[in-house]
Subunit: 247 residues, 2 copies
């Protein structure tokens, strides 16, 4: 097993996983069918994705560790498989979910010789052997030194009582996802949202039965077209609880 | 002007904006060409998107307020236009950006009679007249009452010194965006990331010149295939500063 062979296996897996999950309808995607090795829920979409990947991996002499099934197979090369990273996104057609494969000469991270990540919705392909590539072009990390850099991913250690917090950087679509019931709430009280960013989606949330106010529970109805807004939008049952919490 | 007419205008705008920005290459997208009415940078991609939208709106009798140009046109109906919400995502091919249009009988939010949000990358269309719709199907917000609900959007009021914080919910792709230099850093020290989620992308970040450790600056090389990881991944210049900040 060398990096070239690992790349070819990875590509077949990405292709099969994509084909498999595209066949599922929205109801099927969200169905819970069991529990993974770490006790987390297994959704049908995870189960099907893993099956598609394992069917390919088991033709090779490999020791595989995967999210849902744990260890399977035998071989000197170890493969860490996440057939579907970003399950919640995949279930809800939010286009950020992937297949992830790590090939190592031991069960340790340090003996990795090939790694592969494939964005199943945009078809962007990342991999690394001795260098790193995206869609065949060499990658380089950024060069800034200041903490006030361009952009970071930061998963806060839990201080808020929520199960799942997301920040997509597109208020209009985020609010529409609240209108759809995919998300329960949207909170942005930094005094940076503009009327042009949020007003259309606020109306959509209201017409879908949601409640939208500022952080004090005051309606936004008097807000004008060139003003900034603070927005707390949620289903009506949650709204009071959220307000209590943010103040 | 009624809701039906507003819908038809909105659809033409979404179509034209999409066509216009698809023509720009990656270099052109990121170019700064001026400043908007509120002092924020105007990128070429914003400018072109706005031009495409205004060319359609100015054929109607409307008072338009838009992100870059402020007020234009004249009419009894007010349109709040964000021709490109999620510019940073659009520039970097992160598939979450939209056109947003709010139609009101005054310059106030309360007199809105039609609202439209179009996801330019997935082509999902949201709008509301007396009801709210996604791709023609009626929308309803969620029904949960517990604060530990399914998922929320939460933009923290600033406690961290970063310019832009995102949480996409897909560690493998987020780390690959650090490898690409689109993001400067990834921090997840909640002890929930699994080796299968993150190991491939960690290797890709390293091969792109990045530094990856746990929150104490310890290498992850001894981590095993069935273990959990805490991850701080960034460009090498930022890494020490980030560690100091997170502990």
């Amino acid at each position: 097993m060398d990096a070239r062979h690992a790349l070819s296996i990875s590509r077949s897996i990405a292709k099969e996983v994509k084909k498999t999950i595209e066949k599922l309808n929205n109801y099927e995607k969200g169905k819970t069918v069991g529990f993974g090795v770490d006790g987390g829920e297994t959704k049908l979409i995870d189960f099907m994705a893993e099956k598609a990947a394992l069917d390919i991996l088991k033709k090779e002499k490999l020791t595989v560790f995967s999210e849902e099934s744990g260890f399977s197979g035998e071989g000197d090369v170890f493969v860490a498989l996440d057939p579907l990273d970003g399950t919640f996104n995949a279930e809800n057609n939010i286009p950020l979910y992937s297949v992830s494969l790590n090939f190592s000469f031991s069960e340790k991270l340090k003996d990795t010789f090939f790694a592969y990540v494939y964005n199943l919705s945009t078809d962007d392909e990342y991999y690394a052997d001795v260098k790193a590539y995206k869609n065949g072009k060499e990658l380089k990390v950024s060069d800034v030194e200041s903490l006030f850099c361009n952009s970071i991913f930061y998963y806060p250690t839990k201080v808020l009582p929520f199960k799942r917090i997301r920040v997509f950087g597109c208020a209009s679509l985020e609010l529409c996802m609240v209108a759809s019931g995919v998300f329960d709430c949207f909170i942005d009280i930094r005094n940076v949202l503009r009327f042009v960013d949020a007003s259309a989606a606020i109306y959509i949330v209201e017409k879908a039965g949601g409640k939208v106010t500022d952080e004090f529970g005051k309606p936004l109805s008097e807000k004008k077209i060139d003003e900034r807004l603070n927005v707390v939008a949620s289903n009506p049952k949650l709204h009071k609880k959220i307000l209590k919490m943010v103040l």
